[in-house]
Amino acid sequence: MMRIAIHHARRPLLRRAQPWLGTRVEISVRHRDLAIANRAIDTGFAAIAHIHRSMSPQLAGSDVARINRAAVNEPVRVCRSTWQVLLIASGLHRRSDGLFDCAVFAGHAKASQRDLDLTRRHEVVKRRPLAIDLGGIAKGYAVDAALDALRDAGVTSGCVNAGGDIAAFGDEPFPVDVRDPLEPSVCHRLVELRNFAVATSSIEESNALLAGPHAHEVEREAFDQGASICVLAPRCVFADALTKVVALSGTATHPLLARCGASAIVLHSRRA
């Protein structure tokens, strides 16, 4: 115990939180020099703020709001970050046979993410009337971007948590708990996170997505309504997106997990 205490005294943990992306974003950093640690956290939050401003559907000037307002066949310029998220979303949409879909209803029942044409670098065009919501995948991407910023700022180790989408880097692990779906006031240790990411979705959250374009194609017998799905992946953007693929496919061994170097854990809300 004593050794642990001394160890912590040498490398203190600085932890701050700000409201972004509709949730509480927490950044933890370990470094000997507190001024460097604070500056690193500032750069992490700046990266998150940029993604919030580009991808929040509620902000009128964001890329996502402009895409949603645009007319069919009207080209929309987006920033580098939005472009990268759309590229990742498009790849996941294709490789999950349409299960992952960031298109939301906008008047055309058959509209899907396929109708958002990534025409050329940093430019998209809608081929049908539709709106998109990058919600979870943008959150995962923001966690990765903030973690990259911490790494560049030269701290020893760091962890970013955006409403339960978590990634950590460095030589010291960060403990991550998950709520017990049977007893939400109780948490269980899920992982000692180091140079890896984790995201958790409840089946209830994922079912909300089923109001989307592919509701009729999805079988939902596999998991009970209160179950939670945790996905561990090298990057948080994949961890978050894959929780939806697992929830909607009803299998924790969907082949896309292995392709992304990820694995899934399902916490059932009923006792076996």
Binding site: R15, G164, E205
Partner: protein, 184 residues
Amino acid sequence: MINRFLIASFPVAGIAIAAASNAFAVEYLTVEAAQRLMFPSASSYVLERPGFTPEQMRAIDASTHASSQARQFLIFRAEADQALLGRIYVDEVIGKSELITYAVAIAADGAVKQVEILAYRESHGYEVRDPRWRAQFTGKRASSPVVVGDDIANISGATLSSRHVTDGVRRILALDALIRRGSK
């Protein structure tokens, strides 16, 4: 590290290793640490009591569709050589099952400079609205600006809305505009 997770799916009992208590609390920053962080060039942070009338407060709450649940709503003037750099507002909001203390820094021109969450306490059930539950955190502020809490784990899947903080910031912006009009 992730060898434990090669098994793709198993019931929760399989990983029931550590159980936490019913209340979950994190103290991020003291008010003093937030002041230094938000206006580092200030030489003093002076407590300000603007003395709003109840009518003014009601008008603000109505126009911003927000209200404060703060036990102590604090306003500080950040000054350097008697010149005003901006103000720091310390407020509290209650969400569905959490109590959040946060600080908003607003520059002298009325622009939001920074929003920091100072403390966060979560409970399941009615406790968050119970003054006795809230009282246990009163005065629980470390003298150090650093919160050393390696025992506090991140919780995956704890998606909590920051809507109440966003509403609170909107209300504080309206209050700040009122203060700036009054001091002209």
